[in-house]
Symmetry: C2
């Protein structure tokens, strides 16, 4: 008879395998499917979800988990492959089995209507139309949180964030965000208050999409995306979808007069993709589909995309390597721009109302607004009806902007209408981790800046492979940060990065 | 309590839905998947096949079928939606449940090795290396046939052909093929024996792939492929894969110096795709995934592809419309060719050794060789060891060619190594149905030739929609032919088509 651990792993692999198929259908829907396929595709996805829910909540998993957890020998080293797998399988099994089916189905029903109503409300720029749905969503999220539970010294928000960021709490986020907010507001004030404006002209240059496509493919390959085990396509909203370690698909987008947007999106998604392509399953097929070969959390995932997009892709040294490539790929059209002008165009800072269009610095202020407000909604300190006012006040405080209407304010994001609360902070946590990891990599690799200036990205990628990608879920996010950098997460590295780069760009 | 029929239909829809997902993964594997994904994809497909086998052989289906068959009211009209669904669900349920699992798994094992050995044998052009595997495959196919059974006056071959062509028998095929072979051999002799050779120069013209792509997309759309409910991509071997009526995907291929190959492939696959896009489920969602909204057989499917490729795409009147389009899409490069020269280039006849490169006329002789030999192998009249000799003799008799080696002879096709016997004749039956349907359409539509010359393809497509596509599996292939054309299948229409077109081209 096979032992409990082996049996457990076989059941989990079966569920992961089906999940990879779900993921492929999702990718196909966004990138390839003709519009006629929409209704049928949702039936296909619902069928697979139903089948996978059955596999993943099989009571045998519970029995085998209990047997494994009772096996002192198996669990002796909490960082062993076996112990990590058991710990994380337990976590997700409990998440999936703790919600009563009625709540799951009510949640699906309410959010399906809410998404539709959110879209209509945003179009009409009328929050009152969305408000009753938001109230229901907050209420259902509270009920979900009650089912999951949270630590005695914690709060409702923590129980929900667990889906995106295991081990994360609102108190932790608030502690990290407080000094960051203060210093960011100061920095943005300095930059926009001065008289120097970096050159913007390169952002207006029209370049053929075909040439842009060849250019970003080249850069993606150079920084380490393996096209033999992945694809790059186009979609309205760029994303990366990892079917499994040997088939990772990402997308980017193109505008004729914004090659930097295509480059930034591609480097961002390449960062996600390089993580997925270098999980432990890369070297050991038997680990594919298991937690030890899965990503830690959304924020650690985001740290990988932001590191390549921002720490590398918007750096002065990167443009030393990349500037000559522009002529190679685009010919004479780029001759009128200096290396410095292109670098400056990649580093504009401008407070704006819409998160997804925000620059590297102000982006984090958008996130803080959302985190503080959803924490208030869930905790009961903020009523749904007071959301627009609270939103607009914070945009004035943090970004110095007047919000003209709800469409440009609290109705801009789809996330809450889908029921996702506890998600937004992972973006800024990702920026913080990226900066802290990058500082440590520079310390370890010595002449990292010179390597980047020479277009040598392999040492950095291998450092990330070893320290982050191959670890899988061995550590939670914060312990991983401490393990890799020797420090707990702090606002310092990101602020050093932003201040050190942006002040000179703005002549300060 | 819902009645037996409704419950049955729900179970079948569930299985069809999963089958659509299998089909999508197959398409993705051929067209999109990076090479790194191969091993994992076969695991995904195996999982879905296992799950779908469970759904499709659920004993409840057998019980519900029996209940439906006993319901005299439900089955009163054998051509009703309900009776057709019950009849065809019974057919496929019996097929799936009649084979013992050991035989299925032995068949999979033997053919998996045989495919590999066939590839090696073909590379070495050494039949003796493949012979023991072919012997096993013949033996296993005989055992499969025994499980399925066949009519008293029939033979082993019939039981296998049922998978591709329900209701078809070797005697029927032989009866249809005999006069066709005689007249084809005579015609090909006349054409190649004369002194007149149609112009070949257009087949050597180099045209950019990008322009070819836009051209064939335009033609596909004009003849009726709906890009809002389908895709056209590229693959080494063109194919059409219908996930469901609203998402039909086809591929084509391009060579710089053979735009007619790209056009022919595209019109061929468009014919398959137009069939799939116009099944009864198009107008009634509730029929999607049921036999009444499924294609009749491989030969009727092939009749749709061949009709657009040959009856339309190689006709004099088609080129009256299409010739001016060449200048629109390719500019001056095509100016040196007359309409007549392009038409002639599309209608070369040249006996050759390789089936997949054969022209419209000689293609059928390749098929007859294969049909006669596989019938002999299964019936025991031909030993596997005697295959190369028998093959070469028939190529001499039918095509007047000496086969130089096994790679250019009996090792050229993959089909038998995959275990597929009873499949080849569907290609030529498709050509015969195409010609017979087209004659009837011309009779019904009056000025069909003038319509085609004006680029008006809608009347023909609607005629096919009504008479063939919307019928689904209501009729078997031969009864459908009689229902649509008033005659049983005969070699006459195809020979009238070929003789009437090719003799003038060859100055006879």
């Amino acid at each position: 008879m096979r032992n409990a651990y082996t049996q457990l792993i076989d059941l989990i692999r079966e569920s992961s395998l089906l999940h990879a198929t779900q993921s492929l259908l999702g990718w196909d829907q966004e990138v390839m499917m003709p519009e006629g396929g929409v209704a049928f595709r949702s039936r296909q996805l619902a069928q697979l979800a139903r089948m996978n829910h059955e596999l993943a909540t099989d009571p045998r998993i519970g029995e085998l988990l209990a047997a494994c957890e009772a096996d002192a020998h198996l669990m002796a080293d909490p960082l062993s492959v076996e112990a990590v797998n058991v710990r994380e399988i337990r976590r997700s099994y409990d998440r999936r089995t703790k919600l009563p089916p009625e709540l799951v189905s009510e949640f699906a029903k309410v959010t399906s209507i809410a998404r539709h109503e959110w879209a209509a409300a945003r179009k009409a720029s009328d929050f009152s139309r969305f408000q009753p749905h938001l109230e229901k969503i907050v209420e259902l999220n509270r009920r979900k949180a009650e089912c999951f539970g949270w630590r005695e010294d914690g709060e409702v928000w923590d129980a929900l964030a667990e889906d995106y960021q295991p081990g994360c709490t609102a108190a932790y986020v608030a502690r990290v965000f407080a000094p960051l907010r203060e210093r960011l507001v100061t920095l943005v004030g300095e930059l926009t208050g001065g008289t120097c404006r970096p050159s913007d002209a390169f952002n207006e240059l029209k370049l053929p999409i075909g040439q842009q496509l060849r250019f970003v493919r080249y850069v993606a390959e150079r920084i380490g995306f393996d096209f033999g085990r992945g694809r790059l396509d186009q979609s309205t909203h760029p994303f990366c979808s990892g079917t499994h370690v040997h088939d990772v698909r990402m997308t980017t987008r193109f505008h004729e007069n914004n090659v930097l947007d295509a480059l930034g999106s591609t480097m961002h998604e390449s960062g996600h993709a390089i993580y997925e392509q270098n999980l432990a399953g890369r070297d050991d097929e038997s680990l594919i589909g298991l937690p030890i070969s899965d990503s830690v959390s959304l924020s650690i995932h985001e740290s990988q995309s932001r590191l390549w997009e921002n720490q590398v892709g918007r750096s002065r040294v990167f443009w030393r390597w990349c500037y000559p490539k522009l002529s190679e790929f685009f010919g004479v059209s780029v001759k009128g721009f200096t290396e410095q002008q292109v670098y400056e165009a990649a580093n504009r800072v401008r407070p704006s109302l819409i998160r997804v269009e925000a620059d590297e610095a102000t982006y984090n202020l958008h996130i803080m607004v959302r985190f503080e407000l959803e924490r208030g909604l869930l905790g009961g300190q903020l009523k749904a009806g007071d959301l627009p006012g609270a939103w607009n006040e914070k945009y004035k405080d943090y970004l110095g902007l007047d919000v003209p209407d709800d469409a440009h304010g609290c109705l801009q994001d789809i996330h809450w209408s889908m029921g996702a609360m506890g998600y937004f902070p992972t973006y800024t946590l990702g920026n913080l981790y990226a900066a802290q990891f990058f500082e440590k990599a520079r310390e370890d690799l010595g002449d990292l800046d010179d390597q980047i200036a020479r277009g040598e990205f392999t040492p950095l990628r291998e450092w990330l492979n070893k320290n982050i990608h191959r670890q899988g879920m061995r550590y939670e996010s914060e312990p991983l940060c401490e393990h890799v950098t020797g420090e707990s997460l702090s606002a310092e590295p990101l602020m050093r990065h932003l201040e050190g780069k942006l002040r000179p760009v703005y002549g300060l």
